[in-house]
């Protein structure tokens, strides 16, 4: 790698780490995810500050074209991240389902007192005039 690409890499690394820290401080990124990305930043920083590190490692592993090592690591890492997200998604889906059920049970059976039906409405018990005609949660469907 040339000096310029090196400077570029170092600059990008610094920017990335700063962005992550900012996001965490603003509470936009949960700390547990920030660990993941800060680790990436750290690895990048090390790679940037010790120029020959990747090359030597590639040689040791018998990788003929050194950038391949970098790509290999990057792809492996991204795969792990994607898998982790799938895992989290599955968990969240399960919880959202449970919550939706719980909500439906808490809300109780639908009661319609409004004169939507042909029959005249009977005086319902006080405080239970739930019409449920509003499109709640429709935008989520």
């Amino acid at each position: 790698m040339t000096g310029q690409t090196h400077a570029l890499l170092a600059g990008l690394t610094v920017v990335a780490v700063l962005v992550i820290i900012r996001l965490v401080r603003r509470g936009a990124l949960k700390a547990k995810y920030s660990v993941l990305w800060l680790t990436v930043g750290l690895v990048l920083a090390v790679a940037a500050s010790v120029p020959t590190l990747l090359d030597r490692l590639a040689d040791r592993l018998g990788i003929w074209y050194q950038p391949t090592l970098f790509l290999l690591l990057a792809i492996g890492f991204l795969l792990l991240v994607a898998m982790h997200f799938s895992y989290e998604l599955s968990r969240l889906e399960k919880r959202v389902r449970a919550l939706a059920e719980e909500l439906a049970l808490l809300r109780g059976p639908v009661e319609v007192d409004a004169p939507r039906t042909p029959e005249p409405p009977e005086p319902g018990p006080i405080g239970r005039d739930r019409t449920d005609g509003e499109p709640d949660g429709r935008e989520l469907a």
Partner: protein
């Protein structure tokens, strides 16, 4: 013996009144529970107008999600048995006694369109997929089922309690549920029934989606399914 009818309904305001009338005519002593699965066409109003108890999900969960809510409700309300009935008019209320009669010797009964030839037809690719599922379910369960994806099924209370927490949610969940019940040691029988063609609403099988769900189902069945050990232990941390 208290019996509940569980009807998952998603945008079935057009077909539902006829179904409810059919049920009221043939099985007036069964409590009808409509689970409105996030409909936006006023399905819940139609359900209540038709004399049913209606639970409303805040958004669409799919048949499996709606069913599990129905099972939970049935368990909470202390029903001895319940059966599942389609909101689109596909199922025939005159067949209900046949289904429930078989529940005397089984924990769960499936109403099969194909146990004897009663004229129900499906397309070719669908037929092939169903045949494959039949084979696979047969191999896993050690039992012969002719209609693994039927949505006309009856359950005794122990099965209701089991499904109230364990019912699968994804599309074609009925096959998964069948295997789950057999694996769990429940006796599952099949009885021949007749069904109608769907009267209103659209069947939810666009081809690519169907292929995806079919492959997903194969993986679930071959991998031991969510009823296996992994799900059990994974359940510990959740809110149920």
């Amino acid at each position: 013996m208290r019996t509940a009818v569980i009807i998952p309904a998603f945008d079935e305001a057009d077909a539902l009144p006829a179904v409810l009338a059919d049920l009221a005519a043939h099985v007036p002593d069964h409590e009808v529970i409509v689970v409105d699965d996030g409909s936006t066409d006023g399905t819940h109003l139609v359900a209540v107008a038709g004399g049913a108890t209606c639970l409303r999900l805040p958004f669409n969960l799919g048949i499996g999600g709606a069913l599990r809510l129905g099972f939970r409700h049935a368990v909470r309300e202390g029903y001895d048995r319940a059966y599942q009935f389609d909101a689109d008019g596909q199922h025939d209320a005159t067949q209900i006694p046949t289904l429930l009669a078989a529940l005397d010797d089984a924990d769960m009964v499936i109403g099969s369109r194909f146990a004897t030839d009663r004229g129900y037809r499906v397309g070719r690719s669908r037929g092939v997929a169903m045949a494959l599922l039949r084979r696979l379910v047969g191999a896993i369960s050690g039992q012969r089922f002719t209609d693994t994806s039927s949505g006309f099924r009856a359950f005794r209370r122990p099965v209701l309690e089991f499904f109230a927490t364990e019912y699968p949610m994804e599309y074609m969940e009925s096959v998964e549920a069948l295997v789950l019940a057999v694996r769990h040691g429940f006796t599952v029988h099949e009885v021949p029934v007749t069904m109608r063609d769907r009267s209103a609403g659209t069947a939810s099988n666009r081809n690519l989606r169907l292929v995806y769900h079919f492959v997903r189902l194969l993986i679930v069945l071959l991998a031991g399914g969510p009823g296996g050990r992994s799900r059990r232990t994974g359940r510990k941390g959740t809110s149920r």
